[in-house]
Amino acid sequence: MANLIPPRFKVVIDYEKCRKCKRCVINCGFGVYSFSDRVIPDHKKCVSCQRCVAYCPEEAITIIENPNVFRPNSYWTMEERINIMKQASSSGMLLTGMGNDRPYKNYFDHLLIDACQVTNPSIDPLREPMELTTYLGSKPDAVKVKVEDGQIKLDTKIAPQIKLDTPIIFSPMSYGSISLNAHKALARAAKECGILMNTGEGGLHKDLYPYKDRIIVQVASGRFGVNQEYLDHSAVVEIKIGQGAKPGIGGHLPGEKVNREVSETRMIPEGTDALSPAPHHDIYSIEDLAQLIYALKEATNYEKPVSVKIAAVHNVAAIASGIARAGADIIYIDGFRGGTGAAPTIIRDHIGIPIELAIAAVDDRLRAEGIRNSVSIVAAGGFRHSGDVAKAIALGADAVAIGTAALIAMGCHVCQMCHTGNCSWGIATQRPELTQRLDPDWAAGQLINLIKSWSLELKEILGALGLNAIESLRGSRERLRGIGLTDTELAILGVKHAGR
């Protein structure tokens, strides 16, 4: 039956233009092309990663959706039928990469941002200072000062704070799921932009040690690569409970991706599968989490904020409140559009909730309990542009994390094949002939440009709002309006409908 499954894409080659250079053969990570007299594509293998299209010197290649349609049926879509065929012929779970691609309602596109007209002036970010500086960490309710020799002095020592030059960080993507060159690019860009990159759960390669002030190290259920040295080479320590793309389940890095360097970094034998258990086996309740938070604070001398990363699930507000009370300095919430190196498709597509609703629910809950100051909220899961970022901040996030957008900046074409380890763009792969394609300096430059562009746009948005500091937008839902939303949706988001 496997052979009877039709290809999703067709590779159309213009043989008049083709000069038989075979670049497509070399460039394809998925083995689509063979050569005898001329290049011959195996359509079934094509994932439309667009590498060959980009590298063909003659522009001789076009990838099209298979025009050979199944009999149209808006319920039994081609995708659903192909998935059933695949499972009927394999008896396995379907795997995928990247984030949920189903057409669920997208709340970002139902929110509109305010602007000043007449009664208060907008501000020109080219002429006036415009501040994006953001500090992540737990804040007290009040600052104490004392007067000494007529001088007002600080009389409070507050929990450790991490400075971000702009409220955007890179989301966790582990070494193993992505290449070392990709990790290096993220670290360099984080340093240059004054933001943070996150190791994900795969440990920290020694080449990244110089960037330690800009790195969040993760302690996940598999505890890969975790030791004192690892904790010492970080700005923030993060306990990973869940991931937006696969809430409630663990991780699986196939043995083929565990080469010598990955094995050293993860501290596991070469070639073995790296399995992260679904739960942390020492966290079966909130009080267990509190113990791990304080164990990590002890291990890092109370000098680093401890973050807890969770997936946005139905009860996210209550969970977040528990995490804040358990002593976390940062809560990282990952929405259901969040990406992944590999996840069962059924989990990715049907579990979790949108980040927009999660931010609003968590921010409301923490405020109702009077503990919003005690934690920073980092939101992630599908931020496509600075407009999404501004909306998330207005809903109540302190900062956002971007993963997929960062990958796209480095060349990813969102073919959703990260789990295969064949990424033609040298990102989600460990195959040396593929990883060498990604020049870390070039990729860092791309990331820096992206962060700079979004930051510029954020300043422009703030200026239009008549604000000159990002903290005046944070949680200011008064500056958002909903469009095409029900009363319940508006109530959850805490915004009025457009026109009000």
Binding site: N120, K139, A142, V145, E471, S472, R474, S476, R477
Partner: protein, 366 residues
Amino acid sequence: MDRAFERIPSGCAISGIMNVSGKRISGEKIITSISLMHDRSNGLGGGFAAYGIYPEFADHYAFHLMYQSERGRTLTEEFLNKHFIIERGEPIPTRPHPEITDPPLLWRYFLKAPEERLYKNHEPMDERDYVVEKVMFINDNIPDSYVASSGKNMGAFKGVGYPEDIGRFFRLEEYEGYLWTAHGRFPTNTPGWWGGAHPFTLLDWSVVHNGEISSYGINKRYLEMFGYKCTLMTDTEVVAYAVDLLHRRHGLPLEIVAKVLAAPFWKDIEKMEEEDKRLYTTLRQVYGPSLLNGPFSIIVANNKVMMGLNDRIKLRPMVWGRRGDFYYMASEESAIYEIEPSLDEVHVAKGGEPVIVRLKEGEQNG
């Protein structure tokens, strides 16, 4: 009042006079000063705060109430009777004025908080917290009733109309105070609601404000976390509550409060000496949500202080001057010269730099 109007932006004029020796003057001068800036208002709001006007009740909380119905008055008086000792309750004296139509019922009460009631969850409670709680309760829960002011030896007089007409309506020339502030309002829509006029007050704090607070949304949510209820449909309210939170409850000196409301830019904090850098960095980290962003000039006052403050990029005007023991602040210089033609000094207030004028030590007025 239709609560669909949650916030009403407005332009404005403000003026303030303080005698730092505590010498009391009639309301005539402040009326003259604010009326010079007639064109900065549109007849939809005017008001005054006066300090030192009730020396015979200096130890009582003077509650100024606005009622839109007799029922509001009955309910509020029942509430006040239950929670306070009422020394005296009376209508606020007014005179008929052709420009002032349809005023609410205006009453004042001189109150003491009964000691045996100063407990919350069996814990002793600060008397002022108690008063604040009751003010919030009335504004939020008792229909047709609004507390215009609740401080000691002070009062707010405000309503719908041009400020000079409001001043005459309330017969302010018959009062004597050592600190007066005034406001003329230019709101951009017309709910015609007396409670929406300035000053906004809490305990003996009063705020008059020219501008619009673009960060209102988060300022409000932040203050709500500390139990303040923003019910008066104007952004100025948040200034009064923020000052109360920062100064009275968190114990920050007024200079520092000003630096929270109009925080120095990060680039300027960068250049500070180590110790100040730590102080101002911490203040911004912790109090970011109470930064007042957007154009404003405000005069904040209490029994001992008058403070003028501009937003940090100075998007609204403010001038201050001095003649002997008298200090003046106003949106326009002419409004000061109108009442004091020969000033010893006169300055333009800088963006984000507070001008703080204090009552001289020993000049105790309440």
